[in-house]
Subunit: 285 residues, 2 copies
Amino acid sequence: MSLLDRLAMIREPDLSRYRRFVVDGHTVGWVAADLAARLRGHDGVFVVDGETVGLSPRLRDYRERTAAVAGVLQSLRADGWFRGWRNEPYPVGPSFGAGLFEIERAAVPSFGVRAYGIHVNGFVRDGADLRLWVGRRSRHKPTYPNQLDHLVAGGQPAGLSLAENLLKEGAEEASLTPDLVGRAKPVGVLSYLLENEEGLRNDVLFTYDLELPADFTPANADGEIEEFFLWPIDRLIREMSDTANFKFNVAFVNIDFLIRHGCIGPEDPSYLELVRRLRRRPGLR
Amino acid sequence: MSLLDRLAMIREPDLSRYRRFVVDGHTVGWVAADLAARLRGHDGVFVVDGETVGLSPRLRDYRERTAAVAGVLQSLRADGWFRGWRNEPYPVGPSFGAGLFEIERAAVPSFGVRAYGIHVNGFVRDGADLRLWVGRRSRHKPTYPNQLDHLVAGGQPAGLSLAENLLKEGAEEASLTPDLVGRAKPVGVLSYLLENEEGLRNDVLFTYDLELPADFTPANADGEIEEFFLWPIDRLIREMSDTANFKFNVAFVNIDFLIRHGCIGPEDPSYLELVRRLRRRPGLR
């Protein structure tokens, strides 16, 4: 599987098979037909018609909506609808920082709600060459167990700023001190809408580069990463090309890293197509 | 004018006002109605119907097409159709490196043909801060005279590789030695389709970062750059925000540079929208 094949999954799904999830006039997600049918049974909370899913107008504010939706999600959960319940509230809204209510993270792909995340490329310079820190996710993670991941990456829950989340995830996942986290540089945004086994991943990833000293060794503190590797670029490319080890979106961020650092250049015949696929979904907000 | 306003011009034109330019079954450009009408008078070379512009099937190969089209363009030029004739052949084709024939550079925007270019961000580190080399274009340039430009930038003509073009433009525009040019790192691609006073700019820009030593001073060798400035980032942002001095696409590449280097981060409320506008046209090939 080439790097280009890794990006083939960035493919806008046929949204005609989903109901638009509309709140306060904003499209905030996409709900599959079977879930929409199930939500009809909760008509004090959800309003489902032939085309859209909405929230009951009797729910007047952020708090009321959050509480009422949480009740429905617990009922669905009891029926086995979501996997990997996290107890992490995610904001739902038309754009970043403009939440209209919150839902449990495990339900986000089922509602096709846009989720934000942070991905940190932790790297070390070795002369003119680069080495990238790679972590292997715990075999006990509810999602993507055993797969290869970034030094630090995580979803962006409600109630934390990006900077606070970087500090928290950096400490938990790799024992990064605030001083080291403070060296992380924002380098852009990746965005995609795709279907996978979780449902619809409608993600906007804030990406960071963090140059680390050669003598730094990450240590996982929360049990979510089993081991870390410091790989030269050719090994990284081989692992991404030859195997399906990498978590899908970590591979996207890695390829963006390789392009931004000139590790892949226009002499590669797939260069323009790699960039094009990484940017298939410019509709991020 | 904010940085966001600088990117507002990246706006797909209404292509229904143009005829599709089709060669060998590939769309290779877009021709405005008045030019299409004029090309009807050259029906041994161009085939114009209500919807498309094509080339006569009697033109059998690259060489024949190039020669026949050149004849028509000279006739149009004599009637005042193109400004800034360059005598630089540009390839016309469905994708990079796949030219079907060549046309004079000055005619490229009139035919809406995709043009490729190189843009080099020449920068100097000053502790943790960056300074960017900026050039002012000659007042005698046929296009965008006096506007601010990159240290090195240029269109990609037929018959040169990107690496050869970098060497040529680096030497001509800034007296860069091959050793210095060799340090330029490819960092991505920017692409847009927009209407301006030249016609349709259907561009794919290969972008490079070139870190220069603090004691390097560029010297223009071809008369196309009047003077150079080494600006700190806050000055660069101020010049882009407060004035219309920058050549339009140089501003795009500068904003991409600021994002990749963390000079603008997600704490800026316009961050996601800046990235979105830079990537409005992922259809590059």
